[in-house]
């Protein structure tokens, strides 16, 4: 169920696109109206979510310190994993965002007779996650050739590098293969590793299937079913310059592709894919470990919460304190006469 329902959902999306592309006006809906709508929802949704997060304060300074803190001058600080300056935090965030520093630490624990726990290095998730994200980025940037004219030099350079081996015609992009491979890895580990299968929700499979769908339709369109790329650029560049038009023959595969992309854009702001923005706002990573150096302000700190006062403490225990020679603020009242004590005891 956890796997089938998102798969069916993505297949249904493909079917909807195929059918819609055949009905009159359907191509304009899929190629023009929906992309604008999806892009607007994507931008608006991301901005909404970020400002929604930002409405809540960060009341306490809670970085996870992953190394030696700034301490005595002769003790070497780990400035990247336990930063105490802005530059350090920027460094830590760059490592996290660009190189997935935390995931790089990953280990795999196993238990053997004894009992003996063993922690092996486990870098596959890090490697494939990195490949997945960077290929995705390169693929998106490569697509700029369809949205810009003239085409910026770096896009051409990316394409050249990506097709460096000149395999096939049109030239085969390595990122396409690596991207599919990484997607397959991310999917298979969800299915094959008992732990991960157990924690996975439909919301984890859906984006994998959706993104795979986008990648597969893209690859089909480029290498197998081939479409008139000039006609497509006329549409996509038209979208970017607010003068979209569909002329000539564009294959249905293109409309499936663009429909799935729209689905992803709409889905993203309301899903776990918002980790894209959230990673920048995680208080355990983006804060300086300087809480003893600089006072951090909590906007809802309640000054009315006072400690149990010393005065009431002393009032309760004064007699014992005086008896034990512990200094007090107020001395005991004068000793009552002996008879009175006796009376009180009675």
């Amino acid at each position: 169920m956890r796997i089938m329902s998102p798969l069916i959902a993505v297949l249904a999306l493909v079917l909807v696109a195929l059918v819609t592309a055949q009905v009159p006006g359907g191509q304009a809906l899929l190629g023009i109206i929906l992309p604008y709508l999806a892009f607007a929802l994507f931008l608006g949704g991301v901005v909404y979510r970020v400002q929604h997060w930002a409405k809540s304060p960060v009341p306490f300074r809670i970085p996870t310190t992953c190394g030696q803190a700034n301490s005595l001058p002769w003790i070497k600080q780990n400035k990247l994993d336990c930063p105490s300056t802005k530059a350090g935090v920027i460094g830590r965030m760059l490592l996290e965002v660009l190189l997935f520093r935390s995931l790089f630490r990953n280990t795999k624990a196993e238990i053997y007779e004894g009992p003996k726990l063993v922690y092996g290095s486990s870098k596959f998730l890090w490697l494939f996650a990195l490949l997945f994200h960077y290929c995705f980025l390169v693929i998106i940037l490569r697509h700029l050739r369809l949205f810009m004219d003239p085409i910026p030099g770096f896009v051409a350079a990316l394409e050249f590098g990506d097709g460096f081996f000149q395999i096939g015609l049109p030239v085969f992009y390595q990122t396409d293969a690596i991207f599919l491979g990484a997607l397959a890895f991310l999917f298979l580990r969800r299915v094959l590793l008992t732990n991960i299968r157990y924690i996975s929700l439909p919301a984890d499979y859906f984006p994998l299937f959706l993104i795979s769908g986008i990648a597969i339709t893209g690859i089909l369109m480029r290498y197998f079913l081939r479409v008139d790329v000039v006609a497509i650029k006329q549409l996509t560049h038209g979208l970017a310059t607010f003068s979209p038009a569909i002329t000539g023959q564009i294959g249905s595969i293109f409309f499936v592709h663009i429909f799935l992309v729209c689905a992803l854009l709409i889905y993203l702001p309301f899903s776990k894919l918002m980790h894209m923005a959230g990673v920048f706002m995680s208080p355990t990573r983006n804060m300086m470990n300087n809480s003893r150096m600089v006072r951090h302000i909590n906007p809802w700190n309640d000054p009315k919460i006072k400690p149990h006062s010393y005065a009431s403490y002393e009032d309760e225990f004064r007699e014992f304190m005086v008896g034990a020679d512990i200094p007090v603020e107020k001395e005991l009242p004068a000793q009552p006469a002996e008879e009175e004590v006796a009376k009180a005891v009675e």
Binding site: F42, L43, V46, V47, V50, Q51, A54, K55, S56, P57, V58, L144, R145, L146, F147, M148, D149, P150, I151, V155, A156, E159, F160, Q166, L169, P170, V171, R226, V227, D228, V229, V230, K233, Q234, H237, G238, A240, T241, F242, S243, P244, A245, Q249, G251, A277, F280, M281, P299
Partner: protein, 126 residues
């Protein structure tokens, strides 16, 4: 909102990057490539729609067939017209202006075919 000083600029940067193609206005969608068609010929080796999407496949097949399998240099269109299966002596015979024909679309869509890595470029394009 807390942390405005960092979040608002970051959001503006995000929106700016995402909409790059929209404000990158040096292009004009109306400026479609118009590959110049040969004046003297009306029939190509395959239908236009096929040639638009798949000419590179055809060229690839010719190369593999002729150079590696010893295939024939002579091809026939659906109408029975004979032609030479060759980029330089076939295609370029009719489409004799690389700049006005090939490059028009290739530049528009940032395609850099490696035909001319081996083949001599037609003189007029030099």
């Amino acid at each position: 909102m807390y942390g405005k000083g960092r979040i608002i600029p970051a959001l503006i940067l995000f929106l700016g990057l995402m909409t790059t193609p929209m404000w990158y206005k040096s292009g004009d969608a109306g400026k479609m490539p118009k590959p110049e068609k040969p004046k003297d010929y009306t029939e190509c080796v395959a239908p236009t729609a096929y040639m638009r999407t798949s000419h590179m496949v055809l060229l690839n097949e010719w190369r593999d067939d002729i150079l590696r399998e010893g295939g024939s240099r002579v091809g026939k269109t659906a109408n029975g017209t004979e032609y030479v299966r060759s980029l330089q002596n076939g295609c370029m015979k009719c489409h004799n202006d690389k700049k006005k024909f090939c490059d028009a679309c290739h530049n528009y869509t940032s395609v850099k075919p490696y035909c001319w890595d081996c083949h001599l470029q037609p003189k007029e394009a030099m």
